[in-house]
């Protein structure tokens, strides 16, 4: 088969190839789209200088994987209302965190390590990504990532920056079985602790104001102080004045036990203090004897003093320069302080006991001293009403405090978010890319398919050519051989030929004589020449040429007429007569032509007619 024939076929089937490729491309596009994932990524940077040493501001190890911890992700699931739809583990598995180390610092680290110096550097910039499926879409990926980082920023601040709690310890306090004075003590202690925490916040950021509550820590402190000095002290005063208690015996026992505990603790503290004094004396004596106390004010240290020290965990911190002697002195002071404060606490307890045991003067015989009830309880008819009033007022106070604690918590939460955003900055906001460029790959797939189809066609065509050349081609003339003719006749068995089909048989009758006279080789060359003349004569008519046997040829022409073929054969004769090669060879041949009539001729019949039509011709030797 010739090259042009392959391209002719390709040209013929090109529309089908294109349609096939389009359909296949659509299928590929659908598959690509369904298996495509959308990856949302954001770049974050830990601003704290300790982050480059791998530590959080508190000195704890900084673990960026906390971004995808279940604590964070479960909050994300709740915030987005995805509970029951997505499992936390599923979302966690789709988050990836990639460190972006600073190239300069890495190089510096390697150089230092090569020199044997210690150099700690950990990346503090990270790409956080979330992958969503094609069904979930790019927006889902971006939203999940945004929410995850929102929650993480607040968690980070709460865990590593703003760690002191300001918890509500008085919520529903009245539901417990506390005595009035105990309740008030708990309330007062709770306020005290909260104020200490709030003062720390105020010190760090005095003008911070949460937009959600409109309150600053200053405002909240003022509110707590106001409640303390007005309502708390008022309730305390009334409880003392009217000896209001749920159970005098339990109350007195409770405070007596506190005094006993303080006494025991003080015995222990006294013993410790005595020991410390002994150690201090021994320490000074030893230092004196070793000459360490002979330092004068002229003494100047030789080396520059490093302010920071490196701990066991590699964490750089401000050095604690307290000397042992100072520690001993502070120990002496602290233990004495505990002792003294315990004595004052005991005095307070005695004051409480006295307050509830004392006789207000209402009972002349001092009967209240031996009673389970206080003097006021025994003699004031209004006592129960007062208890009820106090109960209600404590409830009101606790509810007010709870509201204030809610404001504190809300303000603190926002403060955490604020701190989180100041300790971790966003370098690039969430951008979404698809894992596969569907459009690009679709175009590539289309062209690839077209190339593969055409290439396949070429290969198949070439395969056909090889088969044709090996089995159905006459090697001498390049025409189809007898086997081809048989195959053709078989395939056309019983079929009527199209109108315009003309068979032309050419038989070289003196071929054996030529072979004998001019050698077989010359005979073969003559056959080749004849084949060439035949082709030339028929030109581009599309006729098929067959070498049926040694000197017998068959030309099968389509869409033509008997007369046209006759004229073509005249050309052939002229070629033969006017030949210059093998001019010395006389060629004797017969030509038979037959045209298929409409609906009458089979291939075999037409072949027979052509054979019957043979007429002899001679091309003389010159």
């Amino acid at each position: 088969m010739k090259k042009s024939r392959i391209f002719t076929i390709i040209r013929k089937v090109l529309p089908f190839i294109v349609v096939f490729c389009l359909l296949a491309t659509l299928f590929i596009r659908a598959k690509l789209s369904s298996s495509n994932t959308f990856i949302a990524s954001e770049v974050i940077h830990y601003n704290d200088e300790q982050a480059e040493k791998g530590f959080a501001p508190t000195g704890d190890k900084l673990d960026v994987n906390e971004i995808k911890s279940s604590a964070v992700m479960s909050k994300v699931v709740n915030r987005m209302g995805l509970t029951g739809i997505y499992s936390v583990d599923n979302l966690i598995s789709r988050i990836s965190i990639t460190p972006l180390p600073d190239a300069d610092k890495l190089a510096q680290k390697e150089a230092k390590l090569e020199e044997g110096e210690e150099y700690i550097y950990e990346p503090s910039t990270f790409i956080v990504s979330f992958a969503a499926t094609s069904d979930e879409g790019p927006e889902f990926a971006r939203t999940i990532l945004d929410e995850t980082l929102d929650v993480y920023f607040a968690e980070y601040s709460q865990k590593y920056v703003n760690i002191a709690p300001a918890n509500n310890t008085v919520d529903k306090l009245y539901d417990e079985n506390y005595d009035y004075i105990e309740m008030m003590e708990l309330i007062d202690d709770g306020i005290d602790e909260t104020l200490t925490t709030l003062y720390q916040r105020m010190e760090k950021n005095p003008y911070y104001r949460a937009t959600s509550t409109g309150a600053s820590f200053n405002d909240i402190v003022d509110e707590f102080n106001y409640l303390r000095s007005v309502k708390v002290s008022s309730l305390f005063a009334r409880i003392y004045k009217y000896q209001l208690t749920k159970n005098k015996s339990v109350l007195v026992s409770d405070y007596t036990t506190r005094i006993d505990n303080n006494n025991i603790a003080n015995t222990k503290e006294t013993s410790i203090v005595e020991d410390i004094v002994v150690v201090i004396d021994a320490y000074v004596t030893k230092m004196r004897e070793s000459g360490n106390t002979n330092i004068t004010y002229e003494y100047i240290l030789d080396n520059l003093h490093e302010r920071n020290l490196t701990g066991d965990n590699g964490y750089i911190t401000y050095g604690d320069q307290t000397v042992t002697y100072d520690e001993l002195i502070y120990g002496w002071r602290d233990h004495n302080e505990l002792k003294e404060h315990a004595i004052i606490d005991s005095a307070y307890c005695r004051y409480v006991i006295d307050t509830f045991q004392k006789c207000t003067g209402a009972c002349g015989s001092g009967e209240c001293q031996n009673s389970d009830k206080t003097c006021t309880e025994l003699h004031n008819a209004n006592y129960n009403n007062m208890k009820q009033e106090i109960d209600e007022e404590i409830k009101v106070l606790v509810d007010e405090l709870t509201k204030l604690y809610d404001v504190t918590t809300q303000t603190n939460n926002e403060y955490n978010e604020f701190l989180g955003a100041s300790y971790i900055s966003v370098l690039s906001t969430a951008s979404v890319v698809s894992s596969v460029n569907v459009n690009l790959y679709t175009i590539i797939a289309f062209f690839f398919l077209v190339v593969v189809c055409c290439g396949g066609l070429l290969v198949i065509g070439r395969l056909g050519d090889i088969i044709h050349n090996n089995f159905y081609t006459d090697p001498l003339t390049g025409f189809a051989n007898h086997a081809y003719l048989e195959k053709y006749l078989d395939s056309m068995k019983g079929k009527i030929l199209d109108l315009g089909t003309v068979f032309c048989m050419i038989e070289i009758t003196n071929l054996p004589a030529i072979n004998e006279k001019h050698t077989r080789k010359s005979g073969d060359e003559v056959l080749k020449m004849l084949a060439r003349f035949m082709k030339n004569a028929f030109g581009k008519s599309g006729a098929e040429f067959v070498r049926e046997s040694k000197g017998n040829f068959l030309v099968m022409a389509n869409s033509t007429k008997y007369d046209t073929v006759r004229e073509t054969m005249d050309h052939f004769k002229r070629y033969l007569d006017e030949r210059e090669e093998f001019a010395e060879v006389q060629i004797e041949y017969k030509v038979g032509i037959a045209e298929a009539a409409e609906g009458e001729h089979t291939a075999l019949k037409l072949l027979t007619e052509a054979a019957r039509d043979k007429k002899p011709y001679v091309s003389e030797a010159k």
Partner: protein
């Protein structure tokens, strides 16, 4: 859904025309010489009545469907105008989250404002999408980008088709703006009547405390604003410091001096016994605290006294300070810290004693008070101070809002872009040209085919 499908139908029709024409011409061209092929186009009639009619009909259908379809789609750009936006933060310094543009609260607010019927938050949410106007690339440092403009798209669904798309997007963005200002901008507010105490039931000295607290609150708010913008001048030609100065002066003169003195000097009290008891309790309580502080003070002093003279030697240390400058430091010894602590405790003791003395003064004044009825005068003064404080609060809030508007440049800017008449006409024109080209090609192919 149906409209968007129908919208594609005219394109499909001209596509079919084009494919038939192209295939026919391709098949015929194979049997033609190049000159014959060009001749067909040269001699073809390009203006034919039926071609024009079909083009017109298709274009008209397209125009109608395009108009209907464009009514269902609209977008808006939300731009963040405040300075913190470039750090991906809200104006209060917390992290910015663009998903909030279409959060449930915003949609709920929009539904409420627009009085939308037969739609749920979920219905509208499913029609909205938000994405950054420009997004960066995390793989290259040079292409990092903090988005400050976001596109909100609304594409009506079957459940929301009865709503006007442009109204929906306008209400969503406007609700978001309100939501944002409410959540992320300064929100110092005036106390409601329910939150304000009933002065007639309060002790006069407690009223002083309360008014003092309120005045301090306003001052704190103003000082905070002053820290952010000390030179900002309001439309009434005031600065935060000038308003704060007025409030401070007012607190000192009206509350601390006038009201407190009036109450104190006249022993004005509603429940003398109760109030005196309360102060007595405070004194007892403060007394215990004083004892503790005094004990700590004494212990520090004792520690200093027992600190061995031989251990107090100091040496000079070359070192550097917080800003990295060298200086000769002196080694600290325990007595340095103990002295500082002792001073601290001494201050606390002094504070406790002052508190006790203050309370004792009040107690003595209350006890010594003649029964002259000056409560009326005090009540009038309280009412007047309270009113002034409300006015100061309003003034502070107004100044704060002015500053917010100035600083945040309206905080968020929104521009809604639907499909304009001009762009619809442009679409129709492009379609008409394509349709005419496809149909003319079809006409040529058919004519050529008939000839054959």
């Amino acid at each position: 859904m149906l409209t968007s499908l129908l919208y594609k139908l005219p394109y499909l029709v001209i596509g079919v025309f084009f494919v038939i024409a192209a295939v026919t011409i391709f098949l015929r061209a194979r049997k033609m010489t190049r000159s014959e092929f060009f001749k067909v186009f040269k001699e073809a009639k390009y203006i034919q009545a039926w071609v024009l009619i079909v083009t017109f009909v298709l274009s008209f259908a397209f125009g109608v469907l395009n108009h209907l379809n464009s009514k269902n789609w609209v977008s808006a750009v939300v731009a963040l105008n405040y300075s913190e936006a470039s750090q991906a933060q809200n104006s209060n310094g917390t992290r910015y989250n663009m998903a909030e543009i279409t959060c449930d609260e915003v949609i709920e607010k929009a539904i409420e404002k627009g009085a939308f019927e037969n739609v749920t938050v979920k219905d509208i949410k499913s029609c909205l999408s938000v994405y950054p106007y420009v997004q960066g690339n995390v793989n290259s440092k040079e292409e990092y980008h903090i988005s400050t403009e976001f596109i909100v798209e609304y594409c009506a669904s079957r459940k929301t088709r009865h709503l006007d798309a442009e109204s929906v997007i306008q209400l969503i963005t406007s609700a978001y703006k309100e939501y944002y200002i409410e959540k992320y901008t300064d929100s110092y507010r005036l106390k409601t009547d329910e939150e304000r105490p009933d002065f007639s039931k309060m002790e006069y000295m407690d009223i002083v405390l309360y008014l003092n607290k309120e005045a301090t609150g306003i001052l704190n708010y103003l000082y905070g604003l002053s820290e952010k913008g000390s030179s900002f001048v309001t439309s009434t030609n005031t600065t935060f410091n000038s308003i704060a100065g007025k409030v401070f002066q007012f607190r000192q003169t009206q509350i601390e001096e006038n009201l407190k003195s009036l109450i104190l000097q006249n022993g004005i009290v509603r429940d003398k016994s109760g109030y005196v008891d309360r102060l007595s309790y405070q004194n007892v309580n403060t007394g215990f605290d004083r004892q503790k502080h005094a004990a700590s003070f004494n212990l520090c002093n004792q520690a200093i006294a027992m600190y061995s003279e031989e251990m107090t030697r100091v040496v000079l240390v070359p070192t550097w300070d917080e800003v990295g400058k060298y200086y000769m430091g002196r080694t600290k010894v325990g007595i340095d810290e103990l002295s500082v602590k002792a001073t601290g405790y001494s201050d606390l003791v002094a504070g406790n004693e002052k508190e006790i003395m203050d309370n004792n003064l009040v107690i003595s004044k209350m006890n010594a008070a003649a029964n002259v009825n000056v409560n009326q005068m005090a009540d009038t003064l309280v009412a007047s101070i309270d009113k002034s404080l409300i006015d100061f609060t309003k003034e502070a809030i107004t100044a704060g809002r002015e500053f917010s508007n100035y600083k945040m440049n309206q905080c968020i800017a929104v521009s809604v872009s639907g499909t304009s008449l001009f762009s619809e006409l442009k679409d129709i024109l492009i379609f008409a040209i394509l349709a005419y080209a496809a149909i003319v090609l079809y006409a040529i192919a058919k004519k050529d085919f008939k000839k054959e």
